[in-house]
Amino acid sequence: MTVELRGVTRRFGDIAALQDVTLAAAPGEFLALLGPSGSGKTTLLRILAGLDFPDEGEVLIAGRDVARVPARERGVGVVLQHYALFRHMTVFENVAFGLRVRPRRTRPSEDEIMRRVGRLLDLVQIPELSERWPDQLSGGQRQRVALARALAIEPPLLLLDEPFAALDALVRKEVRRWVRGLHDRVGLTSVLVTHDQEEAMEMADRVAVMDQGRIVQCAEPDELLAQPASPFVAGFLGETNRLRGEVRAGWLHLPGIGRAGPLDLADGEAEAFVRPGDLQVRAATEGAARVRACRPSPAGGNRVLLETDSALLEGVSPERLDRGSPCEAVIAAAIVFGANGDRVLFSAVQNTVPAG
């Protein structure tokens, strides 16, 4: 089903948690809301769930404005951050809850509940845990129970609030793929809230990047990486070096690194984002930069941490460099934002002149 937010604003006192947010998800889409803590992504999810209500704007689920409809009438599946399992109920009863609280007219029979809960536990691959209590389960198992419980009400829309935060790193990757697979098998529309860019990029069809209550960019992961709309997006996504410099006469001057160009930006302050793979470090006889650390990279070559007088940067080098030795860096590719917000993608090895 389609989900759409139009001009949604939510204020807590003087602070606007959401400002004029407009966003849409197509049926079957997996959408991620990505942002630092305090960016408003959880507020947005709670408004979608009906656990919070916007001060202004429309919330359309399947074309109906539900902005004032409370959670229990929405039929939206929600997996909350710490799963919020009912501690005094077995796994079976947790999953059956959504069926048992239905009005008598629409409540399935006991046999039907047994059958449906059994099917859901099979779906999340924990049929053997049916009689356990929540605190006898591991984090991953709890999450599966929470998912099965949310899916029991057959929601067309599934909301996930940081669902992997409580899992340890090893399980997390596997569970992410499994959840995405489940989304595809069940044919859900899903909205995931996360502060982990890797998680968002890996799982979602589209990622909405949020900052200070606004959606700053909503696009497919590849597009976000290739064409970030603002320095905030470029800085928040992926590992990247953030360099401050100045554009003068079509050349970008980066203190301690050198200059790069020519590029089509007006004169003034500029910010360049360079991925470590695009910052090529080599030994130099003298220079403003020093090698802080150098270790072999699993991808081949060496990963170098270098220090200029103003910044600590990560780059790569084909050969091993000594700690403390002078070095210079060449920028192979960068995304540069000018003072007026203009963006250029810069990629020209030959035109980089190291400092020194």
Partner: protein, 262 residues
Amino acid sequence: MSLGLALIWLGLIVIIPLGALALKPWELGPGGVVEVLLEGRTLAALRLSFGAALLAAGLAVPLGLLFAWVVVRYRFPGRRLLDAAVDLPFALPTAVAGLALTALFAPNGWLGAPLEAWFGWKVAFTPAGIVVALVFVALPFAARTVEPVLRDLPPDMEEAAATLGATRAQALWRVVLPSLLPAMVTGFALGFARAVGEYGSVIFIAGNMPMVSEIAPLLILVKLEQFDYAAAAAVGLAMLLLSFVILLALNLLQRRLRRAAA
């Protein structure tokens, strides 16, 4: 080491006095003890003490729950004062509480007069007055055992229930109350234990008519004043055993509830 210390303390403070209490009545001989306990006045006093204490604990639990709910879930001016006020029965000399309640519920008191005029209810100097006094002393136990559990109850369980389609009443009945039940049983047990041994506040409001509104602790005192120490100890022993059985049963119930919740 720590076990040894605990046992020594327990022995000095609990076991030895109670042991003495258990031995004293037998000066009367088994027949004499049975005779004292089966006396109509003793039976009436025990029935009143235990009945009123169970009823008072039963009333104090929902009242305490309501109180804890208001203090934990709502923000209003005077909340902290209210929060502190519920502990007053802990600190107040119970005789003072008894006098205050008696003045309030007496036939010419602020509450006693309208209750009698409108409904024909007599509270002071009847068993109903005893229940009122016992609720007063049991209430803080009920409120204070539920309150921390309620405070720690994550609100997201209620939110999860709402997203699954539960009404507010269903969320409270199926999610919140079961989580609080073990604490409520504890509050009931503590409130009951406090109420059954209560003396100071009750004797002012009860009227103390033998067979009608005379509580067992008062009967013990009456027997002591008649220098009938063994008979007093016999009533005391009966109270001890009854209380022990009831508290043990509550403890077992509570353990079962906790296991279910754990």
